[in-house]
């Protein structure tokens, strides 16, 4: 058995793991990264990036069909057709470019990448095949997996997001189980690609993690697109002969919904199985590894970052944690203490939440001003054919320090940057109100929301 020695060993080459490795390389820490599949992890290969590519394809196709039918813009086109194989090739091209890019960055920073499945021996020893790696610091970044439902095992017509992101054809009918952001992003994309889409959600609203005011524009759009919603319905099972999904209605009746495919999107769970994590006997926090504000586990010099360390399971959180852990290992004093981590849903319309929502501020005992500005009064939104949605700000009443931003509307994902920045810088309403926001942009609604909170919105 070959033995390698290193200072830092990272298990998992996703956004958390590869960023840790790059930063460690920059800091001159001898680093080995072990990845069993493809660099970039879920995010680059079967998550964020491919889903955004597919959403873009769906949106372009949808717009073209929209022009074909009745375009107020005066565009007329003949009926578009879709070669989904080519769409997937295009998406794969993007994924390839990005994962090759990650490999190049790791090489540039002298990180040794070992392809294979890691098996933990102890807190300083990991086996990969017949190679044994000894390290001083161990970073666990194995990410997360889709949650499966026992009555809907993946296979055949039952698919997970991974299969949904690499379709060979667009199904005529698709039922999405789970009305969270993954189910809705993909459900809307499939609807725009031409499938008849239904969403089954056990709770009484879609996107149950967000408040009703915020999700209403998405709800309206789903209705406009013709996506059927089965709210407060729960899945019973799937009849593969009849291709029907049995769901239990709130009135106790069982419905048999005919479909060609069922997409299970009921959440993700930390990937703690299959790499002998048990050997470390770490303290857990539910199904995730328990960490402190320095991403340290209960074992000294063993760190856990990203989805493995629990909610919020977001790539940008994992990256920030990874960067911090590398600096920590280099001897710097660091802690992971962001004011806010933005969460974005790439639904139609898009939805952004950064910092505290009005409910959360309330629960935290803060006396807050809540104010919103609608895109219906924003010129740029009109030119984008978008009239729904708004920007909402939550600020302390006593000193006007902003504690949260929410927005829903076309293209608002890009506003997350301004939102996060204002929270991290500790901006007050007057700071945002006093910043000149370019005209005509969606960002004007950000300034106007702050002004409205101060009682003097200009365009309302």
């Amino acid at each position: 058995m070959q033995t390698l020695n290193t200072t830092l060993l990272i298990i998992g080459g996703g956004p958390g793991g590869y960023v840790t490795a790059i930063r460690a390389g920059q800091l001159g820490i001898p680093t080995i990264l072990v990845e069993g599949q493809s660099l970039g992890g879920t995010c680059l290969n079967i998550g964020c990036i491919p889903s955004k590519a597919l959403i873009h394809v769906a949106e372009q196709f949808h717009q073209t069909r929209h022009h074909h039918q009745l375009s107020p813009l005066g565009i007329s086109v003949s009926a578009p057709t879709l070669d989904i194989t080519k769409s997937v090739e295009w998406k794969d091209g993007i994924v390839d470019r990005l994962t090759t890019g990650v490999a190049a960055l790791l090489k540039k920073n002298k990180v040794q990448v070992i392809q294979g499945w890691a098996k933990v021996v102890d807190g300083k020893t990991v086996d990969v095949g017949d190679t044994r790696i000894q390290c001083e610091h161990l970073v666990l970044a194995t990410g997360s997996k889709s949650v499966n439902l026992p009555m809907l095992p993946i296979g055949g017509p039952i698919i997970s997001s991974t299969e949904a992101l690499a379709p060979t054809s667009v199904p005529k009918r698709l039922i999405v189980v789970g009305g969270g952001y993954i189910g809705l992003e993909l459900g809307i994309a499939y609807r725009k690609l031409g499938a008849e889409v239904s969403v089954v959600e056990a709770q009484e609203r879609i996107l149950p993690a967000y408040d009703a005011e915020l999700t209403q524009p998405v709800h309206d759009e789903l209705r406009k697109l013709g996506v059927k919603l089965y709210l407060k319905h729960s899945v019973q099972g799937f009849d593969s002969k009849e291709n029907t999904l049995q769901v239990l209605a709130p009135n106790g009746a069982t419905l048999n919904l005919e479909t060609d495919q069922v997409l299970v999107a009921v959440g993700r769970k930390p990937n703690t199985q299959g790499w002998n994590l048990e050997a470390l006997n770490l303290d857990m926090n539910g199904s995730s590894i328990k960490i402190d504000h320095r991403c340290q586990t209960s074992m000294r010099n063993v760190y856990a970052i990203g989805d493995l360390s629990g909610e919020p399971m977001l790539a940008h959180r994992a990256m920030a944690q990874g960067e911090m852990v590398a600096e920590l290992i280099s001897g710097k004093s660091r802690e992971f203490n962001p004011t806010a981590i933005a969460a974005v849903c790439f639904t139609d319309p898009e939805l952004v939440v950064v910092g505290k929502t009005p409910d959360e501020a309330n629960a935290a005992g803060l006396d807050c001003i809540v104010s919103s500005f609608p895109f219906a009064a924003n010129g740029r939104a009109m030119t984008l054919e978008s009239k729904s949605g708004f920007v909402r700000v939550v600020a302390r009443r006593d000193n006007h320090v902003i504690v949260g931003w929410q927005a829903v509307g076309v293209g608002v994902s890009e506003l997350s940057t301004a939102f996060a920045q204002s929270l991290e810088m500790g901006a007050r309403l007057e700071d945002i109100g006093g910043t000149i926001h370019a005209h005509p942009t969606l960002g004007e609604a950000v300034q106007e929301a702050a002004l409205r909170a101060l009682g003097h919105a200009l365009h309302l």
Binding site: D292, G331, K332, S333, H400, V401, E424, M425, G426, E430
Partner: protein, 423 residues
Amino acid sequence: MGTHVIKMPDIGEGIAEVELSVWHVKVGDMVVEDQVLADVMTDKAMVDIPSPVHGKVIALGGQPGEVMAVGSVLISIEVEGAGNVKESAQPAPVKEVPVAAPKVEAVMESKPVAAPAPKAAVCQGPMVARAADERPLASPAVRKHALDLGIQLRLVRGSGPAGRVLHEDLDTYLAQGQSNASTVSSGYTQRTDEQQIPVIGMRRKIAQRMQDATQRAAHFSYVEEIDVTAVEELRAHLNEKHGATRGKLTLLPFLVRALVVALRDFPQINARYDDEAQVITRLGAVHVGIATQADIGLMVPVVRHAEARSLWDNAAEISRLATAARNGKASRDELSGSSITLTSLGALGGIVSTPVLNLPEVAIVGVNKIVERPMVIKGQIVIRKMMNLSSSFDHRVVDGMDAALFIQAIRGLLEQPATLFVE
């Protein structure tokens, strides 16, 4: 209005310079008669300088840590009436100009940490306490910088909008030297914080004396174990019989008595060696220095003429001097003039120590802790109270044989305590 100038007083005979330790006032303060203005330090004694007048401080003559010549201007106070400038022996009129820095021998470029006058409780410092769960408002760059500096952001006063902590606030906080870097929560965190403590005042004196002693003297250490069972029994008996009326005895007065008796036969050990003049002065009197740990550091108050004191006399004197030294009240006389030194850490005495000589003395006797040990006496194992004496001698002038015989004499006296008192 006149100016009253206070000069650095002559505290002990023959001392040409005195170290300024601490200011208790600052320019602009109103002072009243008898208010303590400053602490100054001579060889070992810390002395308060009180104000003889009412008035307003207009100039300070030096900074803490500075060694100032006796007679140089310490402080100038604006007073009602004429002041004392004209009466001054040296008729140098004091003008508005800051008192020409008194003849100061700046021993080192000591940048004294502006020791804030403890009595003036003006707390407009940059320090602020937030609730444990309150998140200080600060940008990511400020937060990172605070971590780099080991500053707990929670404790920093924010001067920005809504109390936001700015980079400048970190600078201010640091300048005030109030870094609480030491209060990091996790016990296993790697620490990179450092604290710089200027070696001034008492610490500088101790450092100089220790360095001087180890550089000049040829230290020779000798350790012997002593059976103190008998003397401990005697001590217990005396305490039981006379404790209530004459006070409790520790082992120290017995040791002092043992030194006194043994030194009669070893005059070369009760001596001072002036290595510059190449003269050894043997003393008839036994002045025993008692090494004492005070808050500000090691002090050695002296039991004078131990040879002329009874057991209880010595006990009372040791106790009085130790208290005075700890409270900083020991006078210069009480802190100098020893002919031999006794050093004891009591229960912390350990098994062996290597005491450093208190120059110009030539011997120091260190007392280690008393423990019960199985000893072999006449072929029998018996439990005895044993104690080591770890002593150092200046081998330049004390021969090893003499030193060993001296300690053996002490051992004999302590093991047969009646001989301590047989004349």
